[in-house]
Symmetry: C2
Subunit: 182 residues, 2 copies
Amino acid sequence: MSLRHAVLGLLIPGPASGYDLLRVFRTSLAHVWQAPQSQIYGELNRLAADGLLQVSERGPRGRKLYSLADAGRAEFDAWVTNPDIPEHRRNELLLHVFFLGFVPPDRAAAYLTAQAAHARAMHAGLRQLQATQDWDDGPLASQGRLALEYGLRITTTQVEWAEWAAEQIRQARAGTGQVADT
Amino acid sequence: MSLRHAVLGLLIPGPASGYDLLRVFRTSLAHVWQAPQSQIYGELNRLAADGLLQVSERGPRGRKLYSLADAGRAEFDAWVTNPDIPEHRRNELLLHVFFLGFVPPDRAAAYLTAQAAHARAMHAGLRQLQATQDWDDGPLASQGRLALEYGLRITTTQVEWAEWAAEQIRQARAGTGQVADT
DNA sequence: TCTAGCATGTAAACAGTTACATGATTGC
DNA sequence: GCAATCATGTAACTGTTTACATGCTAGA
């Protein structure tokens, strides 16, 4: 239930509406934790029902400003530096790789080359973001820098690995080919 | 719906029961795609209802051997080298990092050091696996080697990043401390 | 005989996605 | 007046997890 904690955390700097949070999820949090509109509004209502936050103000067009209750702040504090991360162990890329032995080596290598290209594009996108972003604003800016560096490093590793893996497959094919032909 | 394709892929070498698959998910696939028992049996029944596989044989203790139908093989083939991977963009670690500005720098740095230690332990576990595994068996062995290398490289990157990030926070704290004191 | 492992299934709850639905207000 | 954006909500569906439930069979 990390969405819960994300919502609580976003209310720490001050009260905000569901719509405000929605925009944060679409911008700053887009690369970190995606959540559709329906989920955010639902979670806010559940959080309010559980007493972790309350509606502190109502504005025009039915706008509701939520603010953090003491219980919510406590819940967030317990979560944020709790080192236990529920290991998800679901990696779509590796699942494909696992079964790559069932297709011809050429197709398998091409698949990995495509994944390398994809990771490279992701990396370029993050570099772009790094260049355009204002890195002096808000309490979340320096954390954003850390997260972005994570993305840059991980995508680099992914590119290198995918190219290495494609090469492994090509070499194995060449190896068996030669043996078979000789 | 990747579980679907994992199940189809596992039936390529030959017919197997739900229980057989269950053991594969607990061993070879444990680091790649986890699935609980109830999900596997449910998926097998759904897959059979959809005509992607059929019960080819019944053994003792109600054992049902499933085998791949032509439609199932086609579905698998379309999936396995399809380069489009639905981007999940949900990273629990980065979500914590995003909010680390709301706790004292010492706690934030300690959190990242703990994550470095965790990634280091993961890495050691994979090295262990690499040493003990029989790397000459089955059609999935060489793919397993590629996946394992992925894990080794990613965990290395995670360790390096987490230590770097912890250092960043410590330095920022020292910096503001000095300025404030002068 | 009894335990461990084989073997399958269901029910309830929770999490997440997509699509639909509605209305208010601001600026052109 | 109209379009864009603000603003919230609900319904249906799919995917996932946890827990419970049942019975068979091989071997010590």
